[in-house]
């Protein structure tokens, strides 16, 4: 049965509530954030004299008003509000409280901050020169890479420039805080990590966690951009509410959001690959350098995932991966769908295309030679690739997409083309994405399941709903376990007073962690309910508790508890009693009672109808110091064929056709999963083509709104877009055999970029060398690669 997103009907009617849709209290204040206009400078003075004359001005706040100013998800190195020094354009300096939301922008302009500029670092190269890093260099290696490089038939080397991207969630950072009695705070935040918001707010205000409740009803898009970076804005709203004892609202404009918040980490990677004449890669050395921006944020964890994904779908026996995060004076870069994985996978997929060029073979042959298969199935960090469907994904898509025939047609087109006719390119790439947080302790989740007396169910978890449909999937899991209609189950807003110590909804693991916990909680209740039913089926209905009117004439049903469970896939023994279609039935006697009636009887027998489930992912063991171990519970896999055209007139890239084949295990909700695939893919397609973060010489982002920052438009979707799933019932490690889907499809868009390279490499000047264009392949980048001579002659005119 097709089950839509649980908010689908309120989304389409405009009644879904987001932070700024909350009705304003009569005494609510609106917050403006004045941020640094310098990338690196000493603050000399803050002049607010003009501001104080404005009738809507209430008061302002600086770092001095906070009990604790430092925060950070991994290292607590970042001030919520700048103190003496600013380190990026967009760093908060002053908060203004305004009476009127429509006056905030005018009020912000009335503050004058004087700076003494310091030397900024505004590129990875400059950071390397200045020895400016966040954390140490890390190494993950297998075999003996240096020795293998000496022995192989061929060597290639090179570098790749991969630039960042803005999340462009439609709902900009938003929070509204309500002061409660006894110095408590209720903070509503558009955050992927309710518990981190709770902790950061409490710490910043000098409160205890018990005094702060963070509530996340839903998020208008996040993509990683609200994993860590929602918290400061929640802290600002909480500070103002706490100090003024009035509700306080902070809604960033899209422009301010894009200037202030971090992006996907740019990377500059250098590599040497050794391979044999048959295309088998025997050794790979990659040095990854990312731009972390001004503060650590999540960049070191992102680098770790990048290092773990340098193999992608390919078995390379000798690998030496080194990674280090550079500290610059840009906004602190952060999580973004894929979390370093895409930057690593782009590197290895490019290397493969370059090897193919070197050997004059088709890149698909090289990929098939190297894909994890048979005994070639252990990653460079020592984890075996189990339930490996990668060879099948390659073979099936190769056939289904008619790869070789199209390759022939494209070759013929490109060699007979007139100068102004488009260049065509084709590329089949893959993804093997590790599912689990690489930081082990994050791989836990908890859930609270409440069954009410009418038989309807409320579920609360730490998962935040940002469009991905985690609430729908959790509702499905719980409803299926209880055999009731999904319409009788509601997943509630995420609240830290219901679910504590939860992990961010990230790493594609929202359903895995929280759905598992919800199933475990539900099973505990179900075990008790089965015992009640078993008892009722041998009792005269006239003597049911509901019929004896609370007289206490009958003995109560005594139930025992389900032994502790950690595996959501373990069937609960219900004594032959089935929960199905809203009925509870003894499979032998066929005696039956409605779920609703059973619930009422259970209540009257003083049987608990609520429970709490805790889930921890088993068997994880990645040792960060040795770089070895079981980093992931399993892998989500996929392949894609992308065909593009590149205009030799203006460098414009069009995606002509995309064929995607993914292994998502056994989907809980296929419709929602397919939406993640098309959405992730198109989001990635923007990153690799038109999305251009353009900074001025002072490190200020100039492309800070959709008029200048171009995410894909509906016209940019592939002319032909085929998405299919491979049937794979073998992922018994995860709840219901499903696989996480959030991030992996984004990485298939890398094939758009390699296809652009492929198109350009058909030009005579690229007969021997791979084009090696940067990512994103913007129109200007492409035209420069296609018409290098024109840029030298025509372009040089003054």
């Amino acid at each position: 049965m097709k089950i839509p997103h649980d908010s689908a009907h309120t989304h389409v009617s405009g009644t879904s509530e987001y932070i700024d849709d909350r009705a304003a209290h009569f005494d609510e204040v609106f917050i403006g954030v004045v941020f640094s206009t310098e990338p690196h400078a000493k603050i000399l003075s803050i002049d607010s004299s003009k501001l104080e004359k404005h009738p809507d001005f209430i008061t302002l706040f600086t770092y001095k008003d906070l009990s604790h100013n430092k925060w950070g998800s991994i290292f607590q190195d970042q001030p919520l509000i700048a103190e003496e020094i600013v380190q990026f354009v967009g760093e908060p300096v002053v908060l203004i409280a305004s009476r009127d939301r429509f006056s905030v922008e005018a009020l912000k302009k009335l503050v004058t901050i004087k700076y003494q500029p310091l030397k900024p670092i505004l590129s990875i190269d400059d950071a390397i020169k200045a020895n400016s890093y966040i954390g140490d260099e890390r190494t993950i290696q297998s075999g003996d890479c240096e020795a293998a490089l000496q022995k192989c038939d061929h060597l290639i080397s090179g570098s790749v420039v991969i630039r960042g991207a803005d999340h462009f969630y439609l709902e900009s950072q938003a929070a509204v805080a309500y002061p409660l009695e006894d110095n408590q705070i209720e903070i509503h935040s558009s955050s992927q990590h309710s518990v981190e918001v709770q902790h950061i707010v409490a710490h910043a205000l000098g409160l205890d966690s018990k005094d702060v409740v963070c509530i996340v009803k839903r998020i208008g898009g996040a993509f990683g951009g609200k994993e860590s970076q929602a918290a400061p804005f929640a802290a600002f709203a909480s500070l103002v509410a706490h100090k003024l004892k009035r509700p306080a609202r902070l809604i960033l404009t899209k422009d301010d959001d894009m200037i202030m918040t971090g992006k996907r980490n740019p990377f500059q990677n250098e590599y040497v690959a050794g391979f044999n004449r048959d295309g088998k890669i025997v050794a790979l050395k990659v040095k990854l350098r990312s731009d972390g921006g001004a503060y650590a944020d999540l960049s070191t964890a992102i680098m770790e995932r990048a290092m773990l994904h340098c193999d992608n779908a390919y078995f390379i026996p000798n690998m030496l991966i080194q990674g280090r995060v550079c500290k610059t004076h840009f906004h602190p870069h952060t999580a973004f769908r894929g979390f370093g994985g895409p930057q690593a996978v782009a590197t290895i997929e490019k290397i493969i295309e370059q090897i193919a060029k070197h050997l004059d073979k088709d890149p698909l042959e090289i990929r098939k030679t190297n894909v994890y298969q048979g005994n070639n199935n252990v990653t460079h960090y020592g984890q075996p690739v189990e339930n490996n469907v990668l060879p099948e994904l390659f073979d099936k898509l190769e056939t289904d997409s008619d790869y070789w025939n199209r390759r022939k047609i494209i070759k013929a087109h490109n060699s007979n083309r007139k100068w102004n006719e488009p260049l065509l390119g084709l590329s089949l790439t893959a993804v093997k994405f590790g599912i689990s947080f690489t930081t082990r302790f994050l791989n836990q989740g908890n859930a609270l399941v409440l069954i009410h007396r009418d038989g309807t169910v409320q579920v609360s978890t730490g998962a935040t709903e940002m469009g991905q449909g985690v609430n729908t999937r959790i509702a499905q899991l719980v409803s299926e376990a209880l055999g009731i209609s999904i319409l009788n189950t509601r997943v509630m807003p995420t609240r830290t007073d219901k679910n504590a110590n939860t992990s961010p909804t990230a790493a594609s693991a929202g359903t895995d962690l929280n759905g598992s916990a919800a199933v475990i909680a539900t099973n505990k209740i179900k075990f008790r309910l089965a015992q009640v039913a078993r008892n009722l089926f041998v009792t005269d209905p006239a003597l049911y508790a509901s019929k004896t009117g609370g007289l206490g004439t009958q003995a109560e049903v005594e139930v025992t508890e389900l032994p502790h469970q950690t595996n959501p896939n373990k069937e609960v023994d219900t004594f032959g009693i089935e929960f199905k279609n809203g009925k509870v039935t003894d499979s032998k006697t066929k005696k039956s009672i409605s779920f609703e009636s059973l619930i009422n009887e259970a209540y009257l027998n003083r049987v608990s109808l609520s429970d709490y489930g805790f889930y921890r992912v088993a068997d994880l063991g990645f040792n960060k110091l040795t770089g070895k171990g079981q980093a992931f519970l399993y892998f989500t896999n996929g392949t894609a064929v992308n065909e593009v055209s590149v205009s030799p007139i203006n460098g414009e890239v069009k995606i002509l056709r995309t064929d995607i084949l993914m292994d998502l295990g056994r989907p809980i909700n296929k419709g929602l999963d397919l939406g993640q695939v098309t959405g992730g893919f198109i989001q990635g397609a923007g990153w690799v083509t038109t999305e251009n973060l353009y900074y001025d010489s002072k490190g200020k982002l100039l492309s800070h709104s959709p008029s200048t920052y171009k995410i894909p438009n509906i016209q940019d979707t592939p002319r032909e877009f085929n998405v299919n799933l491979l049937e794979n019932l073998g992922n018994d490690k995860n709840v219901r055999g499903t696989k996480a889907v959030g991030e992996p499809p984004l990485l298939l868009s890398i094939g758009v970029w390699t296809a652009v390279n492929d198109a350009i490499s058909h030009l005579p000047e690229y007969e021997k060398k791979y084009p090696s264009i940067q990512l994103p392949a913007t129109a200007e980048v492409c035209l420069r690669a296609i018409q290098p001579d024109l840029f030298k002659t025509v372009g040089a005119n003054k």
């Binding site: 097709k2 839509p4 997103h5 908010s7 689908a8 989304h11 389409v12 009617s13 405009g14 879904s16 509530e17 987001y18 700024d20 849709d21 429509f102 005018a106 302009k109 462009f168 439609l170 709902e171 208008g220 993509f223 404009t253 899209k254 102004n420 469009g467 991905q468 030799p648 007139i649 203006n650 414009e652 939406g675 098309t678 959405g679 992730g680 198109i682 989001q683 038109t690 251009n692 959709p706 008029s707 171009k710 995410i711 894909p712 438009n713 509906i714 016209q715 940019d716 979707t717 877009f721 913007t778 129109a779 200007e780 035209l783 018409q787 024109l790 840029f791 025509v794 372009g795 005119n797």
Partner: protein, 481 residues
């Protein structure tokens, strides 16, 4: 006619009189904060994402309901219209067929853009129903949704939803909101001009050309407001806050459009959508060019005269107007005169108008059988993006097609104003169309243009684009022979 001090419109079928400083608010803010209709979302506040889309119905017109961007539409310019927001699309607790389709195809994920898509798709269904269409093609859906950004779905589910709308069983929503009573009330109200003052700011909506000129003389430095798609952005982004606004929408003659022989005459308030509809058969190239220029929401508001008066070096209609012998008609309290478009722009966003003059209408030529016209545009993203370089080329051939009677080559994005490549034109006019020296023409072009570098492209990129556009055009000219 006695003036009034309020703006009058019907919102979701109910009459609203808006007074005071709320008249200067963006409609989206008014809807969300004042009317508490929060289904309409604000994301970019610059008309580029469509989350704020609402439907606008023109009173006294047979045109279908059209989507507009409420974030950049000032409340004042909506006087006299019917407005319908997403909040009103559910009828008697039943979802509309479009809403059902969006659910069926998983068209929404995070939901923030969804109301805008639902409104834009409703606009499409209303329009196509009126045209008697029975189904929607993929291209119909894509074109109607060019102005709506979604970051979650990858659009495919939304395309599927749109294509699946069954127009045969679709019944227009307009009769639910537009009644004889509301039409009458709006008609009556539109006859009286608006004059209001709030917090020191003044709003005027006069009803005649002479009144506009009089006000402009009385209040020098006031801002003329036509479709307002640029001014709305500038206000939202804190770049300007006009003290005195003279809004043109109640001046009936400024809404007029006519074609006589090959000359098109367009009033200052004619929207790009109206223009496109009118020119569909007359000038295919220009009207299909309008398809990649801006979004339906913008084109339903923006005027071509506004594009011209805004004088941006990269205004997308401007190269075409430069090559199509455009005459600009201006008025002031001192009288009327006309200016050739070649003399209109004097510098970056500067016009050669005298003090208190304003543009009432323009006239331009549409290409005839012996004219070969091509339009070019290059931007980071093909659709709904500001150009790095745009161009329009027009060659009128003599009857033998051997040589050009005249050629006009215009570029945008290669200098402070849109320009004609006069040296190149001269060189082309002096050569035969059969064996002109292409390289020489291309070299000459580089002397005509002087682009700068900015976030849309480097100066080298722009020079190469100009070169490539002309090269492509000249190849096609040669093929004509």
């Amino acid at each position: 006619m006695k003036s009034r001090d309020y703006v009058f419109f019907y919102l979701n079928g109910k009459p609203y009189e808006v007074r005071g400083s709320d008249v200067f608010l963006p409609l989206a803010d008014y809807l969300r904060v004042r009317a508490r209709l929060t289904g309409t979302k604000i994301v970019c506040a610059e008309g580029d994402c469509g989350a704020c889309s609402v439907l606008r119905g023109t009173s006294g017109s047979s045109e279908a309901l059209e989507p507009i961007n409420s974030c950049i539409a000032t409340v004042g310019i909506l006087d006299g219209y019917h407005l319908i927001t997403v909040d009103a699309l559910v009828e008697n607790e039943t979802l509309s067929p479009i809403q059902k389709q969006m659910i069926e195809c998983n068209g929404g994920q995070c939901g923030f853009c969804t109301p805008g898509f639902v409104v834009a798709l409703t606009g499409l269904a209303e329009k196509k129903c009126k045209e008697g269409c029975k189904s929607l093609s993929v291209q119909d859906v894509k074109n109607a949704l060019t102005g709506n950004l979604c970051r979650c779905t990858g659009y495919q589910p939304i395309i599927d939803a749109g294509v699946g709308i069954d127009l045969k069983s679709y019944s227009s929503i307009s009769k639910r909101f537009i009644t004889n009573e509301s039409e009458k009330a709006l008609h009556l109200s539109k006859k009286s001009p608006i004059e209001l003052t709030a917090n020191g700011r003044k709003w005027f909506s006069p009803t005649s050309v002479s009144e506009v000129s009089k006000l402009l003389k009385k209040y020098p430095g006031s801002r003329i407001l036509s479709g307002g798609t640029d001014l709305g952005v500038q206000i939202n982004k804190g770049k300007t806050l006009p003290e005195i606004v003279i809004d043109l929408h109640l001046v009936r003659e400024l809404h007029e459009i006519s074609i006589k022989k090959n000359r098109v005459r367009i009033g200052a308030r004619v929207s790009l959508s109206t223009l496109r509809r009118k020119l569909e058969t007359e000038s295919k190239d220009f009207s299909s060019f309008l398809d990649i220029f801006a979004s339906p929401q913008i084109k339903n508001m923006a005027s071509i005269v506004g594009n011209l008066a805004n004088a941006s070096p990269i205004g997308d209609t401007l190269p075409f107007l430069l090559v199509s012998e455009t005459t600009v008609f201006v008025a002031s309290s001192g009288g009327k005169r006309s200016i050739s478009i070649d003399k209109l722009w004097t510098g970056y966003r500067q016009l050669s108008l005298k003090k208190n003059e304003w543009i009432t209408h323009i006239e331009f030529s549409i290409p005839g059988k012996s004219d070969f016209v091509k339009l070019y545009k290059s931007s980071q993203r093909k659709d709904l993006d500001i150009s790095a370089v745009n161009a329009a080329f027009w060659v009128s051939m003599n009857s033998s097609k051997k040589s050009a009677n005249t050629s006009r080559l215009a570029f945008g994005g290669v200098g402070a104003t849109p320009i004609r490549a006069l040296k190149t034109e001269k060189a082309l006019n002096s050569q035969s169309l059969v064996d002109f020296n292409k390289q020489e023409l291309l070299d000459t072009l580089q002397k005509d243009i002087s682009p700068l570098s900015d976030l849309r492209g480097s100066s080298e990129f722009r020079r190469v684009l100009g070169h490539q556009f002309l090269r492509d055009y000249l190849d096609q000219v040669r093929k004509l022979q």
